[in-house]
């Protein structure tokens, strides 16, 4: 499975010669571990027996920016391909550049360089795991305010590379709203500071041009980010809306009323069924499997029976989707669940919570009290654990996060749902709300007992869904990024402005040594 290194040996020898002090590994365990990220397509391949089909040539760990520059210089002359790697939690194949690529693991650059509470700024290196950065800030009574569900298994560099968002983005913004300046090593070997500590300055914002470049223009080594005092007060509440369209209208009004909630989450009928069932059972590790099969068959604890039930359910997703559509209004008298949260200074939180509450009731929301809000808050990282059980039960799961302005949001929701339904059981929630629009997060599950067939189903699903999204005027990704899995949709997404991206690439990485293929740029 892991091909022996032959002609690659010479390149490896070259690297060791050129940079004898560099930590390099071509150990089989490293080549396997670094061959993948969390792209569900890869997980389906895994089910088919291919865990790491295209392992890289080797892994290197630069200890500082200077060493990274040397690596880039070497790659320029040797034609090697470099791929930046944080914690490998990307879901789009962003780090999978194939055999022959050199993985550059940035985790040796993992320090918090300085914390400046008097400026509300932190400077940290790119290889630090998000959770550790937040930990360190918490010790000083500060917070970054960035809470992606991958917080425990992703790095700052990864956030900046993709334009990630956390659960509280409605208040604190996405990572691109937090970052003030980056230190980047470009594909020409130049070390750039993209901005200043105090934003602004002459010319285009290189900070905004490097954020989201997914390692195609340069590798981020350090960043200056805004921080906030840790919130002294937090309010969480749940509301119910008869249909998701009513809830969507309500959260639009809320965001346009001049309020700044931290959390805004509206679950569609299907997602509400799951969220409510886990509340009712009170079980923290409730899975999609349990919820669906519980609803469909009332089956008990027998794992084998549950698995069979799941296969039945997933084999005809169109039927399942339709059935739940019928069921949904009858499932819960409370309707679609909407979670709202505020945090920060006590006075501001209380004022906003009061105003927000009035607004949502006025929009037809049913007050479900604090409990649903706090339940979500307590279990907000739990959902990521569910995918494992699905894969090991012979199903695939994935998510698609798109966004649009409010005027086309329900249309986006309907189109993408319709596109996915024939292939997979699908549910969605609306989150990351802004005054001008919102993101929709679709979760879907399909059968994977025949990995080859599933992979086909999976690819077709994505094609149809992204086409539907772009037709409906949405963007193909709100915060996961493009990687390689959506690269073929970049033309639809950007139209002829893609030329600007190509110009950036030819400026900052003329030799095409940095993560070629990501974002669809060779």
């Amino acid at each position: 499975m892991t091909a022996p290194l032959t002609s690659a040996d010479s390149r490896l020898a070259q690297l060791r010669d050129a940079l004898p002090d560099l930590r390099v590994s071509s150990h089989v365990t490293d080549r396997i571990a670094y061959a993948r990220d969390l792209w569900p397509g890869g997980q389906i391949e895994n089910l088919g027996g291919k865990y790491a089909p295209e392992p890289p040539l080797c892994v290197v760990w630069p200890r500082d920016t200077a060493e990274l520059v040397k690596i880039v210089e070497w790659a320029k002359t040797s034609g090697a391909v470099l791929v930046p790697f944080g914690a490998g939690s990307g879901v789009c194949g962003g780090t999978m550049a194939g055999t022959g690529s050199v993985i550059v693991d940035l985790k040796q650059l993992d320090r918090v360089t300085r914390i400046e509470p008097e400026n509300n700024l932190v400077r940290a290196q790119a290889g630090i795991v998000g959770w550790h950065l937040e930990d360190r800030l918490n010790m000083e009574g500060l917070t970054l305010g960035h809470f992606p569900s991958s917080l425990m298994c992703s790095t700052l560099g990864g956030y900046l590379a993709t334009r990630s968002a956390g659960q509280c983005s409605s208040l604190y913004g996405k990572i691109e709203d937090m970052a003030v300046s980056l230190e980047v090593v470009t594909g020409t070997g130049e070390v750039l500071e993209t901005g200043r500590d105090m934003g602004g300055g002459l010319g285009p914002s290189w900070t905004q041009l490097f954020i989201g470049s997914e390692g195609s223009l340069g590798f981020v080594t350090e960043a200056t980010l805004k921080v906030h005092p840790a919130p002294e007060h937090r309010v969480m509440r749940g509301y119910g809306f008869r249909r998701v369209s009513a809830g969507c209208e309500a959260i639009r009004r809320l965001m346009q009323a001049g309020l700044r909630p931290s959390v805004v989450r509206l679950y569609d009928e299907f997602d509400t069924v799951l969220a409510r069932s886990s509340t009712e059972k009170g079980s923290e590790a409730d899975t999609l499997l349990d919820a669906i099969t519980g609803r469909v068959k009332g089956s008990g604890a027998l794992p084998w029976l549950k698995r069979q039930a799941l296969q039945v359910v997933l084999a005809r997703p169109d039927l399942t989707n339709r059935m739940i559509e019928e069921l949904a209004p009858r499932v819960s008298a409370d309707g679609c669940l909407c979670i709202i949260g505020y945090e920060g200074d006590r006075r501001l939180v209380e004022a906003q919570a009061g105003l927000g509450h009035e607004e949502l009731i006025r929009s037809g929301g049913k007050d479900l009290g604090e409990e649903p809000g706090w339940h979500w808050f307590k279990h907000r990282y739990a959902v990521s654990y569910k995918q494992s059980k699905m894969f090991t039960s012979g199903a695939f799961v994935d998510t698609m996060e798109v966004a649009a302005t409010w005027d086309r949001l329900m249309d986006l929701y309907d189109s993408v749902r319709k596109a996915i339904s024939p292939f997979a059981f699908v549910m969605a929630h609306f989150s990351h709300a802004y005054p001008e629009g919102c993101s929709i997060y679709f979760s879907f599950a399909g059968p994977a007992t025949d990995p080859a067939a599933s992979r086909q189903r999976y690819d077709r699903l994505w094609s149809k869904a992204l086409a539907a999204a772009t037709r409906a005027g949405g963007t193909i990704s709100h915060h996961h990024g493009v990687g390689r899995s959506k690269a073929h949709f970049m033309t639809e997404e950007h139209g002829n402005s893609l030329r600007l991206l190509q110009t950036l690439k030819s400026t900052f990485d003329p030799a095409s040594i940095l993560n070629p293929g990501v974002l669809g740029i060779p």
Partner: protein, 477 residues
């Protein structure tokens, strides 16, 4: 190098229509200068500058495209022109070459108004105040209010990434922009996709925002709006010195307050023009005082909470509440600053300009004082305000003026003053060129790190503008 002028004139006429093209002296004179004080001073001492060879008024992106193709084929330098209010020479022709000025103001329509999402799609040639008034008529507001509002266009704002008086609440103009349409030097029209937020690569609009016309001509943009507020609240606090006022402001922002306006400056009641005729001269102590001017918008319960937070923080730091009146008075004259420089510039021996720099909170008090002191030592006057306050820092807007021994020496003194400002700024950790853009003037004055970043613009520009037609000479290109 000779250029076939009549041939070009013919082609340009074809592109925009003969009635939208002019080489008459009236038009070339009008487009020869912007509001760069140095150039204005020069024009008073020497001749009025030459001006462009052609001025065109395209009505749509397609016409701009045609013009740029012509310019590219003849390697003619082009300036995208909005209101010509640039304070840094970004909109005035330079050198001897035959320039084409693309006056964008015919492209001034609102193309689409999405009241559900509160997003407007509007052409770039619309004058700021007109855009705001048209939005107000429908119950919306853009929230971008720089002093240039009555003369500058949206395109000018976007290309310089301007910040207005309300930036603490609504951000710079780039924060309000969801996407742009622009014409590249080879004539290609590009649209960056509109979405509230994305993760589909770099935010490509940012190659044009702040590029000051060196990459292409912005012809339209999508902007986010908010509902026109029914009410505004004001508060003023008086401090003995600037540092505690800055501290109170910083903490307010850290607590989550999003004020409409937050400024620190001298007491507005002390302006000579605004005082009653028989009022006494202000004492030195009065002049040394600084006020924190606050304004708020939003739901009244939320505003009440914000005002309380600011009041508590300000009074804890020695701020004396003066009530809403002084702040409201400043608001009533908020555009007056735009009129202050001209009376100075029309006096032969005087020189004046406005330094704007940004710094983090920690460096601001020191910079404030060292700027004042450095200029004072040279006998030059300053008036400094703290504006564009954000979580991590703020801008210092420093108006300066002085008198030279003779008109001829005024330009020299102007340059000296700027060098002094740059020196003080860099030594104190500040960044020049924060709000007005760089134009022809600032690129040479910024520090090495900023120069490195500007060099990147030249690198990118080389690929998109091989003939070097887009506003060459601006931002160090």
């Amino acid at each position: 190098m000779s250029v076939p002028r009549s041939e070009i004139t013919g082609q340009l006429a074809e592109a925009v229509g003969p009635e939208n093209l002019s080489s008459s002296s009236v038009d070339t004179i009008a487009h020869a200068l912007d509001f760069w004080p140095r150039a204005l001073m020069e024009s008073r001492q020497g001749a009025w500058p030459r001006g462009p060879q052609w001025v065109v008024w395209p009505g749509a992106a397609a016409e701009v495209s045609h013009v740029l193709r012509i310019a590219s084929s003849y390697a003619l330098p082009v300036i995208p022109y909005g209101g010509g209010s640039s304070m840094v020479g970004g909109a005035s022709p330079r050198g001897d070459r035959p320039w084409i000025v693309i006056n964008c103001k015919r492209m001034c329509n609102i193309l689409d108004m999405d009241e559900v999402s509160m997003v407007v799609h509007v052409q770039s040639g619309i004058v700021g105040v007109e855009l705001e008034e048209r939005l107000n008529a429908r119950g919306f507001s853009l929230g971008h209010v720089p002093t240039s509002m009555t003369t500058a266009t949206l395109g000018g704002w976007l290309s310089t990434q301007s910040a207005g008086m309300l930036s603490s609440r609504y951000g710079r103009v780039g924060d309000l922009c969801l996407g742009v349409t622009a014409v590249l030097p080879d004539g290609q029209v590009v649209h960056t996709r509109v979405a509230p937020r994305r993760a589909t690569g770099p935010e490509l609009a940012h190659l044009l925002l702040g590029a000051e016309g060196t990459i292409g001509v912005i012809t339209a943009a999508h902007l986010r709006l908010h509902r026109l507020p029914l009410h505004r609240w004001f508060d003023t606090f008086r401090f003995d010195e600037v540092a505690p006022a800055m501290d109170a402001l910083r903490r307010s922002l850290a607590a989550g307050v999003r004020p409409l306006v937050a400024r620190i400056q001298r007491d507005p009641r002390l302006r000579r023009q605004d005082r009653d005729e028989d009022a006494a001269e202000p004492t030195e102590a009065e002049l040394a005082l600084r006020v924190l001017l606050m304004a708020y918008e939003g739901p009244s319960e939320l505003v009440e909470a914000e005002r309380e937070i600011v009041r508590d923080l300000a009074t804890a730091r020695g701020g004396e509440p003066l009530g809403p009146a002084p702040a409201r008075r400043w608001w009533g004259q908020r555009f007056a600053a735009g009129f202050r420089m001209t009376p100075l510039l029309v006096q032969d021996c005087l020189f004046a300009d406005y330094v704007e720099l940004g710094a983090t909170w920690r460096d601001l008090p020191g910079l404030y004082n060292s700027l004042e002191e450095a200029f004072d030592k040279r006998g030059w006057r300053t008036r400094i305000a703290v504006e564009h306050a954000r979580l991590e820092g703020a801008s210092l807007g420093c108006a300066f003026w002085g008198e030279a021994a003779s008109p001829g020496l005024a330009l020299e003194a102007y340059d000296e003053a700027w060098n002094l400002a740059a020196e003080v700024c860099h030594a104190g950790g500040g960044g020049l060129g924060h709000v007005y853009g760089g134009g022809q003037h600032r690129a040479a004055l910024v520090d090495a790190s900023s120069k490195q970043r500007l060099a990147l613009l030249t690198d990118v520009k080389r690929k998109l503008d091989p003939a070097g037609i887009m506003n060459p000479g601006v931002l160090g290109t």
